[in-house]
Symmetry: C3
Subunit: 137 residues, 3 copies
């Protein structure tokens, strides 16, 4: 059984950004040499997410708009009593989820035709990490 | 270490359908011969989901109603500039999540008494796939 | 390849509670002796969730408030035709998701500085379980 672990670093310019990371995941898979297994891609921060969906700018804006409606930036969250201003980012991260598992079959990411992996930053402009862990044979 | 990969095909009559697939997952587990491990069940399309909950028609309708409130079918999503009309289906998929992992213990799905696996179609009437990947020993 | 499976029992005093279980997951990891792999932490009931976020009382209240807005306790869900009164709890569980996967690297939970694992009870005052499955080498 083989394992390969890698970390991606992000430091976005904007507070919220959606960054495609499918190629970085594919690089980790190639370095691992694994033919069958799974890859965990998981945000290491509580104000960011990882998801799989379409690499189409419109749907990314639609997603951002929906998350802003469900957990808007601005109001006085109870979390802000700590001095933070990112309560919305925690809630957005929980709604979109912070991780995905990607199947590996015959040495390849076993994704559907339009599936791409995204890092969703909800409280950027600081250094943050994602862990990629490949596991299999 | 053993792996077993299978694919389920769907082509629903309605735009939105919720289909129980616990038995198909159990079949894959039996074919794998695995006694200890995990099963990834993951939609391969960006307008469908996979979730675990109750096989009770009322709660399935309640879920559909909530998703329609949070990401309704109809409005002009930005995604529709591409000619598509399924922006809501992408967002519903992201809210419900597109995958689950099921634990396998002593050769059986290690689920609680009411847990059932569902495929959630949000943009049906076309051929779509789910990957089932069993991994363990 | 090694596996270690453990179960946590809960019987909360309140209908809704958010309980930190990072230490129990770490205990399971130590008992497993696994150095590299993944841990599945998954609620075995359809009215509870498991998530990773901040152990800060304000954000936990903010999360509870958001879930109450999206799937409030009280209204007549269709699920209640069965005699149940917990339709909201099913929907809250689906929104927050019922499981997480934690990476294990060098014998340790490979979490970011503020990441803690939580059990989210949405229909308590009865005995309920979470499965912890450690898998690796």
């Amino acid at each position: 059984m083989k394992f390969y672990t890698d970390y991606l670093w992000f430091n976005t310019e904007k507070r919220r950004e959606y960054i495609r990371i499918t190629n970085q995941v594919r690089d980790a898979l190639e370095k691992s040499g694994i033919q069958e297994g799974m890859i965990l891609v998981s945000a290491m921060h509580i104000t960011a997410g990882v998801y799989v969906n379409d690499n189409e700018p419109g749907i990314i804006e639609d997603l951002d708009k929906m998350l802003e409606e469900l957990a808007p930036f601005g109001p006085e969250y109870l979390h802000h009593r700590t001095g933070e201003d990112n309560g919305d980012a925690h809630l957005k991260s929980l709604l979109i989820h912070h991780q995905v598992i990607l199947p590996v079959t015959d040495g390849k990411l076993d994704l559907g035709p339009w599936q791409e992996v995204f890092y969703a930053e909800f409280d950027g402009r600081r250094k943050k990490r994602v862990v990629i862990k490949v596991m299999g044979e």
